[in-house]
């Protein structure tokens, strides 16, 4: 396996995903297979002179600094799972977390 069990768990923690113990073995196998598959890219000679390019405009556009009216057809209270007194509410965090 090119990806270890520990690596999958570490990555899952970074990605904030629950991984069920019984699904772990399958996941390790699938991820290893996918990583092995994409690893063929590293078989291509690395060419430092190749500059990565991304499609799209060559340069960012500068937006004018103007306050525009709200684009919300309705407020957060309509879509938030827990919204009180104007705040989104999440389980308590310590001040020093």
């Amino acid at each position: 396996m090119s990806v270890s069990r520990e690596e999958v768990l570490r990555i899952a923690q970074l990605a904030e995903l629950d991984v069920q113990e019984q699904a772990l073995a399958d996941l390790v196998a699938q991820m290893s297979r996918i990583i092995d598959y994409v690893a063929q890219l590293s078989a291509v000679p690395a060419n430092g002179s190749v500059k990565p390019v991304v499609p799209g405009p060559d340069a960012i556009r500068f937006r004018t600094d103007e306050v525009t009216p709200s684009q919300l057809a309705f407020g957060p209270e309509e879509f938030a799972p827990d919204f009180k007194e104007g705040f989104f509410v999440v389980p308590k965090l310590g001040q020093f977390e």
């Binding site: 923690q13 684009q71 020093f96």
Partner: protein, 476 residues
């Protein structure tokens, strides 16, 4: 054991814009929670960023003021981590190709005179929202009004050698940024925030030891305290045989203590990659030149010019140029005809004290202050009387000369009148006259004082002294 502290500051500065970095929401402070939000800064599915040109311009000004190299092409990158006040799960920032690098900031160190600290990099990014911990019994409230507010991060090199020096650096940086008008730098409103990398080493060592990052220093007053506490903690730790571990320490102002941050981002694997929603940030030479020409004369240049042009000491020039409005005021007073050193004395004392008590308003017009200074110089007002006149003009306005007259503060320079007061004083203090004539000449100050008292402060003290000298010599 002699210890040396090594500090580098990472300063986050909110740019003075009307709208946020990547959306049109207002940046105004103090609105009800989650009222200055839109799909972009709420991180709603499908929303995309559009960069604020004014924020880019202000960031370039900051970089130029710090002598940085401004790069014609820089790249926005995503910094990925989970936190409830970070709506997209990543912060749009800059990483391996920042806006600007390699600048400097010179400041007066309390220990080493003038120090030139390096500015490693300056980049643009967006702010996160705010977590409110004390409002709900069972939860934390999230307000995203701040989310997406434009910031620059200024990363200073590990060039500071004490908590006091760090404070002086920050003070100078704040002055500079206020000077060029790119931020209001109000720490209480969160528009200036500072994190510090701190390590200690034995005197003479040249390598850096393991450092910690001190966060949550949310007031100017805490900078020195927090860094002192962390420095002392590290020294005590090493002296008792321990080792410093690389971690984030949070400063608790109430306890004046630091404690390690729990849970959040324990791994610090931010998985930076180029932000695919934003093309490269390309700055034309014209754009950079425009920002350059929008910069005022910077404090350091102004200070040097004041030393050269007005023959002020470096210390006086530093005080007078510490604030752009004060420096402009000083120059107006000089332009109105005041002698430069006298003008500096008045600005540094009376004018600044009055401004301190009155919402930072310089209430006496430069021309009026120049007149007050002229009245003192011409012998029309004593220094004491002039201060009174200054206070009156500050409070009520008006012409200094008229006010001095109305208050009866004009010095009497008529020799006959002054001679009358002198005669009275000498008559009333025969024993002192005797002692004076026996060589106790330091009593002259006493006689002048008595004449001033007899004249209710109106006598020209120089004239009074001359007449006293004449009379005391004549009758001998």
């Amino acid at each position: 054991m002699n210890w040396e502290t090594v500090i580098g500051l990472e300063t986050h500065v909110q740019l003075r814009t009307k709208s946020k970095m990547f959306c049109g929401c207002s940046t105004a402070f103090g609105a009800p929670p989650n009222t200055q939000v839109c799909p972009v800064c709420l991180g709603l599915p499908g929303a995309l960023p559009a960069a604020n040109g004014a924020a880019i311009g202000l960031a370039v000004r900051g970089a130029l003021a710090l002598g940085c190299t401004v790069h014609p092409k820089s790249i926005f990158a995503r910094k990925n981590y989970f936190y409830p006040d970070l709506p997209k799960g990543y912060q749009i920032s800059q990483f391996d190709q920042p806006l600007a690098t390699s600048g400097t900031l010179s400041f007066v160190s309390p220990e080493r005179s003038v120090v030139t600290a390096t500015i490693v990099r300056l980049h643009l990014e967006e702010d996160a929202g705010k977590s409110i911990h004390d409002r709900f019994a069972k939860g934390t409230g999230i307000d995203l009004n701040r989310s997406g507010v434009p910031l620059i991060e200024i990363v200073g090199g590990p060039d500071l050698r004490s908590p006091a020096e760090a404070r002086a650096y920050l003070q100078t940086l704040k002055q500079l940024l206020e000077y060029i008008g790119i931020s209001d730098c109000d720490m209480e409103k969160g528009s200036l925030r500072v994190d510090a990398n701190v390590s200690v080493r034995r005197a003479g060592e040249t390598a850096f030891n393991t450092r910690t990052e001190v966060k949550n220093i949310n007031s100017f007053a805490y900078v020195e305290k927090a860094l002192t506490v962390e420095r002392d903690r590290q020294i005590a730790l090493i002296e008792s045989g321990g080792t410093v571990t690389q971690q984030t320490m949070l400063y608790d102002a109430k306890e004046n203590a630091v404690r390690p941050q729990r849970s959040k981002e324990e791994s610090h694997d931010y998985r930076y990659f180029p932000e695919p929603d934003l093309p490269p940030l390309v700055l034309t030479a014209e754009f950079v030149a425009e920002q350059q020409s929008a910069l005022p004369e910077l404090p350091a240049a102004k200070r040097d010019r004041f030393v050269a042009a007005y023959a002020l000491s470096r210390e006086h020039a530093t005080v007078v140029t510490s604030n752009r409005a004060v420096a402009d005021y000083y120059e107006s007073v000089v332009r109105a005809g005041a002698e430069p050193q006298a003008a500096a004395n008045w600005v540094m004392t009376e004018a600044l004290a009055d401004a301190n008590d009155h919402q930072e308003q310089l209430r006496v017009a430069p021309g009026a202050l120049a007149q007050v200074i002229a009245l003192v110089k011409g012998g029309t007002l004593s220094h004491q009387a002039a201060k009174k006149v200054f206070g009156e003009v500050a409070a009520k306005g008006g012409e200094p000369r008229n006010i001095a007259e109305a208050l009866g503060l004009i010095q009497v320079a008529d020799t006959n009148v002054v001679a009358g007061w002198v005669t009275d004083v000498l008559g009333a203090h025969a024993p002192e006259v005797g002692r004076y004539r026996n060589g106790e000449t330091k009593l002259m100050a006493f006689f002048v004082g008595q004449v001033m008292r007899a004249s209710k402060g109106k006598a020209d003290p120089k004239l009074a002294q001359r007449v006293l000298e004449e009379k005391l010599a004549a009758s001998a």
